[in-house]
């Protein structure tokens, strides 16, 4: 009798499990498809980049990197990122603050506009600046009169990069700032702090992980941008080529050694990507942990616990 009911129970248990779970076959099938996709489209190409860069030996690899043209490209990429990222940091903070903490007319339009650079093809973004600031462009004659060159010069490349990487910081900050709300800032105000102190002591620390995350992504994109920058760059080797532009040029060059050089420089960009992933994962983990800690409620110390504590200390 007892065994019968046990068997019965086990059977119903199995059945109920099946109702909510896919069969083994479907599960494995989906996992293998995803895995195969990752290997073929992401992992193999990435390994290949390093392989191609290193297959003529470490010396060829090192030579490619200390080449003056490569060094110039690295310098230019760092310069552009060094200007674009802080600009977008400022913009992202301002936009995030405005959207998360104030109510104003046209807020949805601003939110949509922030995403615009994601929707526009980078090449089109580059062309927009050519149309605006190029010699035939809207401000072209005015700029030419004053001897200011934007297109085919550093300012144009910075503008194009800034445009393309515009949404990253703001998009990371808005949800964090919205979740934090305005109460902490109000509390700081009631305690006598002015706007600036409130920002430094309360707002900034409470969004620091989200902010760092945005900066990291923004930086990765700024260093990797190709399309928009290629339109506004003069593309003079050793002068106005960024790393992605340099890779492109080396790759298309007929010289045999330049293929290895292309992959060597590309491997630097790939390294940057990997580093970004590591930092991003760490920051996400920190953010998640902070969120979980904030959600966790600590039980009230009960009267019993208090009296035990007192007894313990006596």
């Amino acid at each position: 009798m007892q065994t019968e009911t046990q068997i019965f129970r086990r059977a119903t248990h199995k059945k109920s499990q099946r109702a909510t779970e896919e069969s083994h076959f479907v599960r494995w099938f989906l996992i293998w498809i995803a895995l195969a996709f990752v290997v073929v489209f992401l992992l193999l190409p990435l390994i290949n980049v390093f392989w191609q860069g290193l297959n003529h030996g470490l010396k060829a690899y090192a030579n490619a990197l200390i080449d003056p043209d490569t060094r110039s490209a690295i310098r230019l990429t760092l310069t552009i990122a060094g200007i674009s990222v802080p600009l977008n940091l400022l913009f992202g903070l301002a936009a995030g603050w405005a959207i998360a903490k104030f109510n104003f007319k046209g807020k949805p339009i601003l939110v949509t506009l922030i995403d615009l650079p994601f929707a526009v093809s980078p090449v089109v973004a580059g062309l927009m600046f050519v149309v605006l600031f190029g010699s035939q462009g809207f401000f072209g004659p005015w700029l030419a009169e004053r001897d200011v060159q934007i297109i085919f010069a550093l300012p144009g490349m910075v503008l194009a990069t800034t445009f393309v990487t515009f949404p990253f910081v703001a998009r990371e900050l808005i949800p964090v700032m919205q979740a934090t709300g305005t109460e902490q800032e109000q509390a700081a105000l009631t305690l006598g702090a002015g706007g600036w102190k409130t920002f430094w002591l309360v707002t900034l620390p409470s969004v620091r992980w989200g902010l760092l995350y945005g900066i990291i992504l923004c930086n990765a994109r700024a260093m990797g941008e190709f399309g928009a920058v290629s339109v506004v760059s003069a593309r003079i080797t050793g002068q106005s080529d960024t790393m992605p532009l340099h890779v492109d040029k080396l790759y298309h060059s007929p010289a045999a050694a330049s293929m290895t050089a292309a992959f060597a420089v590309a491997s630097l960009l790939a390294l940057l990507a990997l580093l970004t992933l590591v930092v991003k994962t760490f920051l996400e983990w920190r953010q998640q942990r902070e969120y979980e800690l904030a959600q966790r409620s600590v039980p009230e110390p009960t009267l019993v616990a208090r009296s035990l504590h007192q007894r313990g200390s006596q």
């Binding site: 902490q184 509390a187 009631t190 305690l191 006598g192 620091r208 904030a294 966790r296 600590v298 110390p301």
Partner: protein, 367 residues
């Protein structure tokens, strides 16, 4: 006089959140702002703090008009409903924040924080972060932080809203003790009438942006100025009656109304305490059946059903109940000792009408 509001109104777009409110708060008073949600009480508190600006009217703190003084210079302590602790700072830094802003010297800050930790029973927790504290501890940190810069007024928004019922009771008693220790003028917002009655020296009652009544807990309970207050504070039996032949009736209940025209509709209200119950079914005029007894500690709530199907709520002490030998399902008779005529929300009430005779023949004075 610590705080004074003169004809203060606040509009959010089309919505009138606070409508022409005037009242004064005495120095050292513990004042409860009470009302249903959306009544305007939190807006009033935030206007006193400077977190909202009145649309019209003036606010004075210690005789100084503060309308144009921004939050950070008003010298108020504000405790937010969800505490709004700085989550990236530990308890010590949270409490010290206001002192650091005011550029106190470091040893003075340490001394003041230690004093508050002691006062609020937080000693040993100074290194903890807000997420490592229980709800009650978080609230005490929030209060300590607000008190640290020695504010002239302490303002608390729904201070007991976010903690569970058992702790809430403890916190109420504790707030009363704290207030009597510090003697700082304190205003708190609540939607819980029992909480307001228990904690406050005086209560300000709001409904839909209007100030309905201000008075001691006893005054608003015993002498409510209008129907809203009467029904909001405590429990009230409310009956819709109609006048016919000089008598206002509902079911078998009759209230003499000699000067009223036929067909007039009135509402009558009385507290559960006004319902007297006798175990003798013929002692009072109205027989009924004791349907349910609810034990609320020392007080009992009793529901009596009249033959017409009317339910009346009564209250008595456990001792009285035992003395009368009452039990559920028993046949009883009732007397309504006193009642008032309710004239609609916001309208003044009639004075209390006391039933003159204990016997079944007559019932009360005329309406």
């Amino acid at each position: 006089m610590s705080i004074e509001l003169r004809n203060v109104s606040k509009q959010f777009g089309e919505v009138v959140a606070v409508n022409d409110v005037s009242f004064t708060v005495k120095e050292g008073e513990l004042l409860g702002l009470l009302g249903p949600s959306g009544g305007g009480k939190t807006t009033v508190l935030r206007m006193i703090a400077g977190l909202e600006v009145p649309t019209t009217g003036d606010i004075f703190i210690r005789g100084q008009r503060v309308n144009d003084i921004s939050v950070q210079y008003r010298n108020i302590g504000f405790v937010f409903q969800n505490y709004a602790l700085f989550k990236n700072m530990n308890v010590f830094k949270n409490i010290a924040f206001g002192l650091k802003i005011k550029k106190w010297r470091k040893p003075d800050i340490r001394e003041r924080v230690a004093e508050l930790l002691e006062l609020l029973d937080l000693v040993g927790l100074e290194k903890r972060f807000p997420h490592q504290l229980s709800g009650g501890q978080r609230q005490r940190v929030a209060i300590a932080r607000a008190l640290a810069p020695k504010p002239s007024v302490l303002l608390l928004d729904e201070p007991f809203g976010a903690v569970d019922a058992k702790i809430r009771q403890e916190l109420r008693e504790w707030l009363v003790r704290l207030h009597s220790d510090l003697n700082v003028t304190t205003l708190f917002v609540t939607h819980d009438q029992e909480e307001a009655m228990e904690v406050s020296n005086r209560i300000v009652i709001f409904s839909r942006g209007n100030l309905e009544q201000i008075g001691t807990p006893r005054e608003v309970y015993e002498e409510p100025t209008n129907e809203f207050v009467a029904r909001f504070i405590g429990v009230m039996n409310v009956l819709d009656v109609e006048v016919r032949g000089g008598i206002a009736r509902v079911g078998e209940l009759e209230f003499p109304a000699p000067d009223r025209p036929d067909g007039q509709k009135l509402r009558i209200g009385f507290r559960p305490f006004a319902v007297q119950i006798s175990p003798d079914p013929s002692q009072y005029r109205y027989p009924g059946i004791l349907r349910h007894t609810f034990f609320l500690g020392i007080m009992l709530r009793i529901e009596v059903e009249l033959p017409s199907g009317l339910y009346l709520r009564a209250r008595m002490t456990k001792e009285e109940y035992a003395q009368l030998g009452l039990h559920d399902g028993q046949k009883v008779s009732i007397l309504i000792r006193s009642y008032r005529i309710l004239r609609g929300e916001g309208e003044p009430l009639s004075p209390e009408i006391v039933a003159t005779d204990q016997g079944p023949a007559t019932f009360g004075a005329g309406i």
